[in-house]
Symmetry: C2
Subunit: 196 residues, 2 copies
């Protein structure tokens, strides 16, 4: 009877994935049921399986889409000729923008990846490890070039990635902070600190 709306939202499968990301984010992957997802889309649960293979396939699609997008972007940035500091700033800004523009999917990739099943779980962790390694190399280069203070690259990676990930706690319009100000303040904090 009811049909999944697709107007300017891509294929039906894409619409399902988008709604799934929203649901997995607000209820967590395990607690979200396929019946709830179906209801949110206006159909009965079994109808979903005409478009998707399984619940876990939805999670996989979301996690790898996000992981691959970040990997692609750090390659583009590091392939450029900007200074190390400028590249780090670009990376931080990209993280913040991704978090603001693809909130549901980034949130799910950050929080629900542990419910991936092998061998995909291992693949996902490898994507993440390689990303962190690439960022650590960039920081090492910055230290060698004397653009950055001498510090442990892995702790710096941890600090930066954790900070930008925290944007998920930021609520729009709260305290009158614009996205631009959030970006500028956080970049400045991570690069220059807050001590006077």
């Amino acid at each position: 009877m009811a049909k999944i709306l697709t107007s300017k939202n891509g294929t039906k499968k894409e619409v399902i994935i988008q709604k799934a990301a929203q649901l997995f984010k607000s209820k967590s992957y395990t607690a979200a049921s396929m019946r709830e997802l179906a209801e949110a889309l206006g159909v009965e649960a079994p109808s979903l399986y005409n478009h998707i293979g399984s619940k876990s396939e939805l999670l996989q699609t979301i996690c790898f889409k996000v992981g691959n997008r970040f990997t692609e972007q750090i390659g583009i940035i590091r392939g450029g000729s900007a200074t190390v500091i400028a590249q780090i700033e670009e990376i931080i800004r990209f993280h913040i923008q991704m978090m603001l523009e693809n909130f549901d999917e980034v949130y799910v990739a950050n929080h629900e990846w542990k419910h991936l099943s092998e061998p995909l779980l291992n693949d996902f962790l490898n994507i993440r490890r390689n990303y962190e390694k690439s960022l650590a190399e960039l920081i090492e280069t910055g230290i060698e070039k004397n653009e950055l203070k001498k510090t442990n690259p892995y702790v710096a990676v941890l600090t930066i990635l954790s900070a930008v990930r925290g944007i998920e706690f930021w609520h729009r319009n709260k305290k009158n902070i614009s996205p631009q100000m959030l970006e500028d303040d956080m970049v400045n904090h991570l690069l220059n600190g807050i001590a006077q």
Copy 2:
């Protein structure tokens, strides 16, 4: 038949809570079953209910124990007479130590609180909001006293709390980073930045 071991681990209830934190951390609250918890403790599932009221009670106990501990500590630190910078440093170090010493419970409080049911969910969020507010006030004081750069206090709180929370991704012995070095590097990064 089997009995829950309590030797130097506190009461049986405390042993159950500790194992629950471990299980909720590795499998998530929803995916972890009471049967698994019972098995990890060497008893049958119904036996658990002689010591605890329900699964959700376990989550509540963990979340509020952690939340109250942090609230207590920031009160102690802010009640002292150290400079603002020294107090912020103390707070950062306390977060890192809590994450290292009470990993399972801190992790669960950070990740699984959303499965609390009302009105406890609201109580927990209030505890967290008040904590963030207290830290923001401290930062505002630091700016007024010219100890800190002029920056948005809420963004600074977000950056600091997110960074320390990220310690959960840090694996012991990895890359030969000692806890002391981790603490020092992260405090230095957040206070002074990494740019040369």
